[in-house]
Symmetry: C2
């Protein structure tokens, strides 16, 4: 907007200048020779150090394929097995949405943004304080994502802290997510046995038993690696059970440079890629050919304190390098970018997010997670930050799209016409033709002139974002679940999101 406190969308209608699935990859942080050396060391790590504590089904399949178990119950993968598996990996991965216009192509270097984070608090814009997050936030954040055009899918950004029982929480998070958005939803589960009931619920929504699998609009997975190089039992079982959804499985390995990974960035990259491949091999050996979204998420510690720090340049370049590595295998990549260590929606949060999201996207990340709304080193989330990050993501999208070079866009004749005419391009036919398709216009970013801004009371993007979030949240209640289906779900499952919370409040 050009100023003012309202949240009217002034963007012209028509073909959008940016959409999900743009082609990234113009940024290649690693030279080809370095990709090769990192890969060779990754193979060495998987072969000579191995990964501890494989779950029995993996152990069995792996031993049958020629792996060995080393002391300390470490599963060691022969390089030939890893290379053969990579060569045969599934490359055509799609995350379907209930509305097909929101299907996400996760192949090649297609770039998509979604949430994630599992924060335990929400930031209150007015009090500048954090409060525990609830199930209502899960639903509201889904509704907000549903309306924000540069956020392409939904993943639980927050945890419903009021629900102690993990089974109830997993079912309710899944419900609140798919009730709030027609975009693709990524799910997490504390235990493998929570997947069955959720699948039954998704089948109800999809039209009956077995229907969900035909066009699964959710996928699930887990952080099945504890760094360094140890399988996590519960999440390993979740990842295997998640294959039954018929959707891609997400896996994540997140060693933290300096604490659970080497201080050398290259070393944490090696460890992270090795762990991510180990996570992928868990699924690949147990369910060969199943599509997997491979999260090599290199994290970083601030070595002055040992605390996690997600907003620095180290994380940004490591993320981009991890994307380059995973993409080099032809696997679908995800990283956590858009993290900030700031507790406020301030300048620091802005530059930390802008930097890390831009680098992950330009590197061609298929699923940029944590890309919106997160604050406080992933401990908090914010409606206003979501709305602002949507504008930020629009800028990044425009950069990822790049510059189309054609006879028409090179504009020789347009330049000549302007030079021979009045010296101005505003009135050239090209300008009117391209103003909708060539430019991404922000919703809440301020582009007003200073004097106008002063006359309007010197508003900031935070105020604009608050107004836009409030407007969306008070009006946008997408009809994601039919009332009759909703009744069936509520009969069968203990849904803790009140039905009256899922429609506009009556005017008082």
């Amino acid at each position: 907007m050009t100023g003012g406190g309202e949240s009217v969308d002034r963007r012209p209608a028509g073909e959008p200048a940016a959409k999900a699935g743009l082609i990234g990859g113009a940024y290649r942080p690693l030279a080809d020779a370095d990709v090769k050396r990192i890969h060779e060391t990754v193979l060495d790590v998987l072969d000579r150090i191995g990964v501890a504590d494989p779950i029995p089904v993996l152990r069995e399949r792996a031993l049958a394929r020629g792996c060995r178990i080393d002391r300390g119950n470490r599963l060691c993968y022969p390089p030939a097995l890893v290379e053969d598996a990579i060569a045969g990996a599934r490359r055509d991965i799609v995350c379907y949405a209930r509305d097909p216009r929101h299907d996400l192509d996760m192949s090649g270097t297609h770039v998509n943004f979604y949430g994630g984070g599992e924060a335990v608090t929400m930031f209150d814009f007015r009090t500048r304080a954090y409060r525990p997050s609830t199930l209502t936030d899960t639903y509201d954040l889904a509704r907000l994502s549903d309306r924000l055009e540069h956020i392409h899918g939904y993943s639980r950004l927050t945890i419903p802290t009021e629900i102690a029982d993990q089974r109830v929480a997993d079912i309710n998070i899944a419900y609140a997510s798919v009730a709030g958005t027609v975009k693709h939803v990524s799910l997490s589960f504390a235990q493998a046995e929570h997947i069955g009931p959720v699948q039954a619920m998704l089948d109800l929504i999809a039209g009956g038993e077995g229907h969900f699998r035909k066009r699964p609009f959710c996928h699930a997975g887990g952080c099945c690696i504890i760094s360094p190089l140890r399988y996590a039992r519960d999440n390993s079982e979740v990842c295997i059970a998640a294959t039954r959804l018929g959707a891609p499985v997400w896996v994540i390995a997140a060693p933290q440079a300096g604490t659970t990974g080497p201080a050398a960035l290259a070393g944490t990259l090696v460890l992270c890629v090795a762990e991510a491949l180990a996570a992928w091999l868990l699924v690949e050996l147990v369910a060969p050919g199943h599509p997997v979204i491979v999260g090599a998420w290199p994290f970083v510690a601030d070595l002055r304190t040992g605390s996690f720090a997600g907003g620095g340049g180290e994380t940004a370049v490591l993320n981009a390098a991890a994307v380059q590595m995973i993409n080099s295998y032809g696997l679908a990549s995800s990283v956590g970018a858009g993290m900030s260590d700031s507790k406020l929606i301030d300048n620091q949060a802005g530059y930390e997010k802008g930097l890390s999201v831009a680098l992950a996207a330009l590197a061609g990340c298929n699923g940029v997670s944590e890309a919106s709304g997160m604050l406080a080193s992933l401990m908090g989330c914010s409606f206003e930050a979501m709305v602002i990050d949507n504008d930020m993501l629009g800028c990044v999208q425009r950069a990822v799209r790049g510059i189309e070079v054609t006879d028409e866009t090179l504009s020789f004749e347009t330049i000549r016409a302007a030079v021979e005419g009045d010296g101005h391009f505003l009135r050239q036919p090209q300008t009117r033709r391209l103003m909708r398709s060539e430019y991404v216009y922000p919703h809440v970013a301020d582009r007003s002139a200073r004097l106008q801004w002063e006359q309007e009371g010197s508003p900031g993007i935070l105020e604009h974002a608050h107004a836009r979030a409030a407007e969306i949240l008070s009006t946008h209640y997408p009809a994601c679940i039919e009332p009759s289906v909703d009744r069936k779900i509520r009969e069968r499952f203990s849904i803790e999101l009140a039905a009256e919370r899922m429609r506009p409040s009556p005017p008082r």
Copy 2:
């Protein structure tokens, strides 16, 4: 810092993790085939449309070299002349500093950050309002730049609005700049005849007549193109006169997509590169072989209003593409990145700056100008923004530096040792060895835990930045000009910066 309102620098001493002149170029927004097509169209524009109103000395030299003058007094450059000139262009360009540790290598894809902007207002952090900028601001911003390690040179960020006479202003800006920093200084001049007196002043500082040219610690130039495709007379004369300083000359062309350039991004890139080469040819034909820093600065208008908008993704990707084009010629590149349209030092300013600076730097820009302190679409500047942007630039620097891949950094043995040991890397020898050199630590960015942050009163980066700016400005008075020389300068020139303003205030 890890929280708190103090501004103590907790970064460990030793070899810095980032410094001026890192190698960029890992981001290549244009495919090689597109670089070629853009170049061919640029040659067409220079040959078949030409550049209006060359100053007489250029016209004379150009006609002698086979150029022609077309109707409308347009100077048309034959492609062969342009290509031959590029092939013979000066490639070893250094911007010297009075302290040689701050010399800037402007060749290849070496990345350097400095200011610029010529804003007319300063943003007051406390009142959230803008006030006219003064000569004291020029001096204070120079002192601040002198201390901020990721800002590698100084260029006038603001105009002394209280000085009406342009000659007096140019002399005083030069004085206030070199009095405030030992880093390299970029100068502007309203008229060519203002250069002589400033050169005399710089000679005094350098030790006597003719001394400055031996190791020039300032360079000068001008925006010698009015878009589209017209030479600006005064700035053309400034650029030619600036060659007498013996330092590189800067030139800038800044067409604005949609108003003074085509709405198609590729078209504005063509126009911008053509104009930048025309600006470079002005110097090259009149002073062959003279080093030039070629500013192809593609700007963008928001077509909803026609106003300049510097913060969008369009500008970011155009800048990076312009860098790729100018670097492809082996010429020294500059762009204006780090622009924001926000009037506040807020989240918008953060992401807009982070995005555009990162892309320009990763593309390998030799001189990223506007990189710090600017707000309000280049109309304003801020001390606090400078301090915050320094942290942002540190993050970008770390990303540009990339990931060094060596036997040691690949960390196979370190990973094995940690896995076979306690599973932790904090106590590995590598961690202690690398904690200083591998990581860039921010000064004012908040990385504290949420509870600690709350206990400290929930401070934001703005408060930290204000404290750090105040501390530097109240203590850092670099002895850039010897007192005896200063007396001579003040005898000979009308210096409007009071001498008592150039030392700490006595305690009250």
